[in-house]
């Protein structure tokens, strides 16, 4: 798959997406990528040598990303837990084989996606990719257990309502650490040139959900 431009190979943050529309170059992304490579390489090396603090740092810096990807698959709370655990077990035994430390986020996202799809296919007795996540719009944990705000819960509910590829695309586009255009393309099997237009359509759909309309009305009323 050929990237549309060299910018597409750089990590994009939520702020970068706004810049994208005005063709402003994401100045900081190369620095972010270089730092990530150095940090991840060092942490992987130390964790592989038995440094528990380095391992915890790797988990802490990527846990939210892995969890957000897994949550986009409607496989049930227990399966979410199993997949989350499996991702870290896989990393723990693969640390010396990670050739591109700067792409660790993408590696973890891919493992999470594959495990979730594997579980979904075998537990739900259905296979279609586009249906994954569309038949069961439930959140994984009660809000109180996750310490999330009401607004966060509302936005998650809106995302759950979108389901499928839109939910996954938007989640990946705001991931932290950020995923590159190329990585998102690979993970979703979506041409790089389609990501921008698909993102725009998904945001329109998201804004039309009852949850986001409610947020907008609340904001207007204040």
């Amino acid at each position: 798959m050929v990237p549309r431009s060299s910018q597409d190979l750089q990590p994009w943050t939520a702020r970068d997406w706004v810049a994208f529309d005005s063709e402003a170059p994401p100045i900081q992304t190369a620095l972010v990528s270089g730092r990530a490579e150095q940090d991840n390489a060092d942490l992987l090396r130390r964790a592989n040598a038995g440094d528990d603090q380095a391992w915890r740092s790797l988990v802490d810096s990527h846990a939210a990303l892995v969890w957000s990807i897994i949550r986009t698959f409607a496989i049930g709370r227990d399966a979410h837990d199993d997949v989350f655990q499996a991702v870290w077990l896989r990393l723990a035994e693969s640390m010396d084989g990670i050739r591109q430390p700067d792409r660790l986020a993408s590696w973890l996202a891919r493992v999470a996606r594959n495990e979730a799809i594997g579980v979904y296919r075998s537990r739900q007795r259905v296979a279609p990719h586009e249906d994954v996540g569309q038949d069961l719009h439930v959140t994984t944990e009660p809000a109180a257990a996750l310490m999330v705000s009401e607004t966060q819960q509302v936005v998650r509910a809106a995302l759950d309502r979108l389901g499928g590829r839109c939910q996954r695309l938007l989640t990946m586009l705001v991931a932290s650490p950020p995923l590159t255009y190329e990585e998102v393309s690979e993970l979703l099997d979506l041409p790089i040139g389609s990501i921008g237009p698909t993102r725009a359509r998904c945001l329109e759909k998201l804004e039309r959900t009852v949850e986001i309309r409610g947020l907008i009305n609340d904001k207007d009323a204040r």
């Binding site: 723990a92 296919r121 819960q153």
Partner: protein, 142 residues
Amino acid sequence: MNEEELMSLLADATNTPPPARLLDAAYASRSWAEIDAELAALVDDSADLAAAGVRSSDTKRRMVFESSIGVADVELDSDNRQLVVRVEPASRVTVDYVKGSTGARTVDEPVSTATFDDLASGPARLIIDSEFGQWRSGWFTL
């Protein structure tokens, strides 16, 4: 609401840590990986095809793990809680099905095929011992 606000809301809503019990399990998982057996590479995974949009009515997941010692063709039927392992080159094999940190179930087979039934769900891996050596699969989720 403009796109910047929407994306900011999304980032805030999705980039939250998992429950503490899962973080604790992730912290602990490094020590589970410490085992002296060659790690086989996952060279084929039917979940990859599903991710690429290939539709299939087959509910089983097929994975192929390859090491310098041998190849394990794994068929995972979560619905029936069954796992079948075929090992090449053929020899008498002992296969341990290791579930998390809770120990192993072993099948000793003379024909290079091991079948496990009534398995509990969750992360697991295989440790394969044949006359050619010992090796292990990566973790997968039943």
